[in-house]
């Protein structure tokens, strides 16, 4: 309910305090990003040939976002906002200008003072990057102009019509995706014998060529004009279908499509991308397990990596000829049974003491357990059994009769992981809609009421722990067979946190969300040790993950792909039910409310 009937403000009728506040924040953020070293490191990755690298992108998104933020009007109920106009654009411009000034000051600072001692990135390299290998005057000019331009652009986003905004968004987002997916598309077009396609889009030395950038941007921008919201309509029809049978059919069709794509795709992909997909799958498996524990049952398990480790080490001990005390080599299938048993035991053992604790204590104590287990694996005490810091090596691949799954053949690993993921998705899906799944949800919502409603909370929570543990241990088992060795170093707390980020960014409790989350995060940024598509992020992954976690909790706690339940919440509300009127009246008003 936007009320924009008031005339727009005069050009210099600015809230100067607000503008200067956001402007200085903008400047500080840009300087911070430069000093942390992101631009210098990410400069290697070129997005658009000879124009834009990932490093520069990381500086220039700041004025854009702050320009958008500063010109956003606070909407209060009953207060009419002036019509947005040139004044808003000016605030955006000033914000961007201040941001640019920050960079100018930084350049002058680097040129004149030496603070390299504590600040690693206070160096000529950064200066060269900021001045475009030119004079400081030139660099300052560029940055001020870029700041103003992007600030205005950010501010103008509020004033575009929906269609134009959509066109801009399609073009920017599409180009970014295309640039990020360069390796995949290269690889895929090679597999499909379509090299000419990738040669056309991408330049030899990486990045999209300038011509194709323009062409693609135009095509993408035209897309919303062509479809005219038909896609969105179809999607919403698909999502909100009232008929459960139809809904189920839709889901099955969608699932089958995705399954076919994933079954066929690996044959057209090279080793590196297959390896990447296999890593995504391993983390998806973990994330699905954690999703049951955190998303459904509401138990914040920060020591989840312990179960991953149990799976990996059990497989190592039982299948490797190098394992210190269990010499016979058993088949992966048999060891998998042992893995399930061990994971169940670990789940019960860790779960039982923590299950009655307050939610936040549970988080810290499980974190403690995760560390205890890693320290034990590392210790001399258990070295005769688990190999201490050298770990256990020489784990054989998985022998499946005609096929063998081993790390050197990423495609086979991918299929193996895919099989486990399908299993995990099935398990999550079935449990979600069952008696025990409902009990978990009730416990998450209000534990003491759940107990009064006859749910044995202790047993239900333990069950969630165990199911999560078993799924994680599968992931550990496949990891051991894939890598061929296990070390305590692979099972740091970091793994737990990264999986938690995946689950939260994707959407707690939502299976699709978790799939999207792991595909995007692990696929692009990478796991704790595994590089993603943007390998340049290796050293900054955790910085981004941390920031992402905070951002999601503040702005979008339901995740990128919230559960259907939460989507529905936004569309149906009961109106005027409490009216002090007769029954019939209130029904009528309700209908009136729904028509509104």
């Amino acid at each position: 309910m936007m009320s924009t009937s008031l005339p727009s403000r005069k050009l210099f009728d600015q809230d100067w305090k607000r503008v200067s506040f956001w402007g200085s924040i903008c400047a500080l953020s840009q300087v911070f990003i430069c000093l942390v070293g992101l631009p210098a490191e990410l400069n290697r990755r070129i997005l658009i040939e000879s124009t834009l690298s990932l490093g520069y992108l990381f500086i220039i998104w700041v004025p854009l976002v702050f320009g958008y933020v500063v010109s956003k009007m606070v909407e209060l109920e009953g207060v009419e906002n002036p019509k947005p106009g040139a004044a808003e654009l000016l605030s955006g411009a000033i914000t961007g200008l201040l941001g640019g000034l920050g960079l100018v000051v930084l350049m002058l600072g680097i040129d004149n003072f030496d603070l390299r001692d504590p600040l690693l990135n206070w160096n000529p390299k950064l200066l060269r990057l900021l001045t475009f290998e030119n004079s400081i005057g030139f660099g300052s000019m560029i940055w001020l102009l870029v700041g103003v331009g992007l600030g205005v652009f950010g501010a103008s986003l509020h004033q575009m019509t929906t269609r134009i905004r959509k066109m801009v968004a399609y073009a920017i987002f599409g180009l970014f995706t295309l640039a990020v997916l360069e390796d995949v598309i290269d690889d895929l077009s090679e597999g499909l014998r379509l090299e000419w396609l990738s040669d056309m889009i991408y330049a030899k030395r990486g990045g999209i060529t300038v011509t194709s950038t323009i062409v693609i941007a135009v095509v993408l921008a035209a897309l919303p004009l062509l479809t005219r919201g038909k896609v969105k309509e179809a999607v919403s029809r698909y999502r909100s279908s009232d008929n459960p049978a139809e809904q189920q059919r839709n889901s099955i069709v969608l699932f089958a499509l995705v399954a076919v794509v994933f079954l066929v795709l690996p044959w057209f992909l090279g080793g590196i991308i297959n390896e990447l997909l296999a890593n995504v799958g391993l983390f998806l498996l973990l994330a699905l397990g954690l999703n049951i524990v955190v998303g459904l049952a509401g138990l914040l398990d920060l020591g989840y990596v312990a179960f991953f480790a149990v799976g990996g080490y059990t497989t190592a001990v039982f299948t490797s000829p190098n394992s210190p005390w269990f010499s016979p080599e058993t088949h992966f299938g048999i060891s998998l049974l042992v893995v399930v048993v061990m994971a169940t035991l670990a789940g019960l053992l860790i779960g039982a003491p923590v299950i009655r604790m307050r939610g936040d204590y549970l988080a810290i104590v499980t974190l403690g357990f995760g560390e205890i287990i890693r320290l034990l694996f590392l210790s001399d005490w258990l070295k005769p059994y688990l190999g201490g810091s050298q770990g256990i090596t020489n784990i054989p691949g998985i022998d499946l009769g005609p096929w063998e799954v081993r790390g050197a053949d990423p495609r086979s690993v991918f299929y193996m992981v895919l099989a486990f993921c399908v299993l995990a998705i099935y398990v999550s899906w079935r449990l979600q809609g069952s008696r025990i799944g409902r009990a978990w949800m009730a416990i998450r919502e209000d534990e003491s009421v759940a107990e009064v409603m006859g749910i044995n909370t202790v047993n239900s929570k333990l069950m969630a722990f165990v199911v999560g543990a078993v799924l994680a241990s599968f992931s550990g088992a496949v990891l051991a067979a894939k890598v061929g060795s296990v070390f305590p170093k692979s099972f740091e707390i970091l793994v737990s946190i990264i999986i938690l980020v995946v689950v939260i960014v994707g959407g707690m409790g939502s299976i699709t969300g978790v799939m999207v989350g792991s595909l995007v995060l692990i696929g692009i940024l990478g796991g704790p040790r595994q590089p993603g598509l943007l390998q340049e992020f290796q050293n900054y992954k955790l910085l981004i993950y941390g920031a992402l976690l905070v951002f999601m909790m503040l702005k979008r706690p339901e995740g990128l792909v919230p559960t259907a339940r939460r989507t529905r919440e936004l569309h149906q509300e009961e109106y005027l039910q409490d009216a002090w009127l007769g029954d019939d009246d209130s029904e009528q008003q309700e209908e009136a409310g729904e028509r509104l």
């Binding site: 914040l300 939610g359 403690g368 910085l543």
Partner: protein, 375 residues
């Protein structure tokens, strides 16, 4: 009446309860056996148990034992200082500020930068006491500012959400600060400049050999603690803090500025962490971006051990935890024949956390929380 009382304890035992009882008994037995074995090993090194479990034990000399206690105490004092921040924030807002360890790291880091600059300027050698005051001041300032900024950006908008939400947020903040420090200052370990001889030399006090640094650490910790006690118990601000901890809504009705009080709480907690950071720097003389992680979790453990929300408890819990992790590996684990016990120091700290929560979830000295935070 007695019959009724008997009936009251009839509580039907579930499998989980039985298992927990089993763990309690098992852990208690292990500790008792370990301690007994240690005593036996000291008194009669050739006793059969020692011969069986730990044949090449040499036991501890009296001086070694005293040394363990002293280093446990000084490290514990530091944990206590950090624990205060956890305890205060939990008492007032009811959530675990996971990023508090990072606030401590920021203190240590800024102390390193300042001390190095002072070293370059020559003040560190010529007037150590003055430099010490300077670095403590700088560390307090940066830690306080960090704590207050995180509160403003990350926690204030979440004040009314379920308590796991700010906890998750604080994990994000923690990783962000950690890796920002990594990006800004690089991954290498940074060394504090050498301390003056008169401070670091061994002194003998009441037959205990103790390094001057450790005495300094304990003295500074005690002074900070006393200052904090005065602030909380004797000033208007402290009264406001206690009132907000009890009930935010009613406190605000009584004319207390709740936001301001919460900011002060974060600030004071941050200041304590800053002092702790400097003490860490003096004691271990090195700092990396990971410095805050383990001490942070251990300090939270200390806060729980002492009873969360309880200031004296946090300090006592810190000292307890510090001594436990320094003594227990040698006194309990080694006599039981566990090799390489020094690697298990951190595992001991976490085990203490689990044990305390199993035996006495409200901590050794009782927690002080409002009704809603306890639920």
């Amino acid at each position: 009446m007695s019959e009724i009382l008997k009936k009251k304890f009839k509580k039907r035992v579930s499998g989980v309860d039985r298992f927990l009882t089993f763990i309690r008994v098992l852990m208690a037995t292990l500790i008792v056996v370990g301690v007994l074995a240690f005593i036996a090993q000291q008194v009669w090194p050739e006793n059969p148990f020692t011969e069986w479990r730990n044949p090449d034990a040499r036991g501890l000399t009296g001086d070694q034992f005293k040394g363990l206690i002293v280093s446990g105490l000084s490290q514990g004092a530091m944990y206590g200082l950090i624990a205060l921040g956890y305890s205060m924030v939990y008492g007032v807002l009811g959530f675990i500020n996971f990023a508090h360890g990072e606030v401590f790291m920021v203190g240590t880091m800024s102390g390193w930068i300042t001390s190095e600059k002072l070293h370059d300027a020559g003040l560190w050698e010529s007037n150590f006491i003055l430099s010490l005051f300077v670095i403590i001041f700088v560390a307090i300032a940066t830690s306080t500012v960090t704590a207050v900024i995180t509160e403003r950006i990350a926690y204030r908008p979440l004040r009314n959400s379920p308590r796991l939400i700010p906890l998750i947020t604080s994990i994000g903040v923690s990783f962000f600060i950690q890796n920002a420090a990594l990006g800004l200052f690089g991954p290498t370990s940074k060394g504090y400049p050498r301390l003056p001889e008169w401070l670091s030399k061994q002194r003998s006090i009441l037959t205990v050999e103790i390094a001057g640094t450790k005495i300094l650490v304990m003295v500074v910790a005690a002074v900070s603690m006393a200052g904090l006690w005065y602030l909380v118990e004797r000033t208007q601000t402290g009264r406001a803090m206690r009132a907000v901890a009890e009930d935010k809504e009613i406190a605000s009705l009584m004319g207390i500025n709740v936001n301001r009080t919460i900011v002060i709480t974060f600030g004071v907690g941050g200041a304590m962490a800053g002092v702790g950071g400097i003490l860490w720097g003096l004691l271990f003389r090195s700092v990396t971006h990971m410095t805050g992680f383990l001490p942070g979790i251990k300090a939270f453990t200390a806060a729980v051990v002492g009873g969360i929300g309880n200031m004296g408890g946090a300090m006592a819990g810190g000292v307890f935890l510090g001594s436990a992790e320094s003594i227990a590996p040698m006194v309990i684990l080694e006599p039981l024949g566990v090799p390489g016990v020094s690697q298990l120091k951190d595992a001991v700290a976490f085990t203490v956390l689990v044990l305390v929560l199993l035996f006495k979830p409200s901590g050794l000295f009782g927690e002080r929380l409002s009704q809603e935070d306890r639920a």
